[in-house]
C-alpha cells in the first residue's frame, strides 16, 4: 500500500490540543521523520488547530474539527477541516521576525511557526461542502 489515511474528529475545544499534538508527533515518527522534525510538526498542528478553535469558530466549543492524516511515500499530509470562518492562502500574512523583535507584542506568531516548520501550508475552501481546510505538508527526505 503506497497511500494510507485516517481521520480523527474532535470537539472545537482547546482541552484536546494535547491529544492532537501527541497524535501528530507519533504520526510523524511512523511516517519516518526524526524526533526533532516530529516535534516541529506537532507544534505546527497545534497552531493550526488552535487557529480553527479560537479564530474560525471564535472560541465556541460545540463545533467539530476534523483531522485527516495522509501517509504517502513522499510526504506526511495533515488536513485540518472545519465549518468555521475560512482563510485563504493569499490572506496569510507572516510577521517579519526582525520587526517583531523590535516591537514585541502578543500574538501573530502561529502562522510563522507553521510556515517555518512545515514544507507547505495551504488554506482552501470547498464551496460544495461549505467547509474550509488548512493543509500542512512535511516531505519525507
Amino acid at each position: 500500500m503506497d497511500h494510507a489515511q485516517f481521520r480523527l474528529i474532535i470537539p472545537s475545544q482547546t482541552r484536546y490540543l494535547n491529544l492532537v499534538t501527541g497524535l501528530a508527533k507519533r504520526a510523524s515518527l511512523v511516517a519516518g521523520l526524526d524526533d526533532s522534525t516530529a516535534a516541529k510538526v506537532s507544534i505546527a498542528v497545534d497552531e493550526a488547530v488552535t487557529n480553527v478553535i479560537l479564530h474560525a469558530y471564535g472560541g465556541e466549543g460545540e463545533h467539530s474539527v476534523e483531522l485527516e492524516l495522509r501517509f504517502t511515500e513522499q510526504a506526511l499530509e495533515i488536513h485540518i477541516l472545519h465549518s468555521g470562518k475560512g482563510m485563504q492562502s493569499d490572506q496569510m500574512v507572516l510577521p517579519d521576525p526582525k520587526e517583531y523583535i523590535k516591537h514585541p507584542r502578543k500574538g501573530g506568531l502561529g502562522l510563522l511557526l507553521m510556515s517555518r516548520f512545515m514544507d507547505e501550508v495551504q488554506f482552501k475552501a470547498d464551496e460544495a461542502s461549505g467547509r474550509n481546510e488548512c493543509c500542512l505538508i512535511k516531505k519525507i527526505s
Partner: protein
Amino acid sequence: MADLSIAVRLVGDVAVVLPAGFINAHTVRDFEEALENLVQDGRYTILLNCQDLNYISSAGLGAIMGLIETVREHGGDILLSNLQDNVFAIFDTLGFTQLYRVFADEDQALAAALPGRKG
C-alpha cells in the same frame, strides 16, 4: 497528570519559574497568571527554568512577549535556562534568542542575574 504545573521559588531578587508539561492555548492562562502575579508583586527579574517544559506554542510565547517590556521598564528582565531541544528550536526559529538571554542551566542564569552571588 495535568497538562501544566508551575512552581515558583525566589532566589534573591530573582523569581525562578519552573513550568512542567505543555504550554498551549489551553494552559496558557495559568502560565500568564503566574507571570502576572510575580510582576504585580514587584518581581521584575524572572528566570524561566524550562527543564521540565516539553512544549510551548505561540500562545505561550505571546504570554512572555506581553510582559517583556514591563519588566525591562522596571530594570528587570526575563531569562531562560535549561531549554529542551524542541523548545529551543521554537525560540531560535523565531529569532527570540536575540531578544532573551538564554543559559544552559539555572546556575549560569542566576550568576548573570545576580552578579554578586556565590554559587
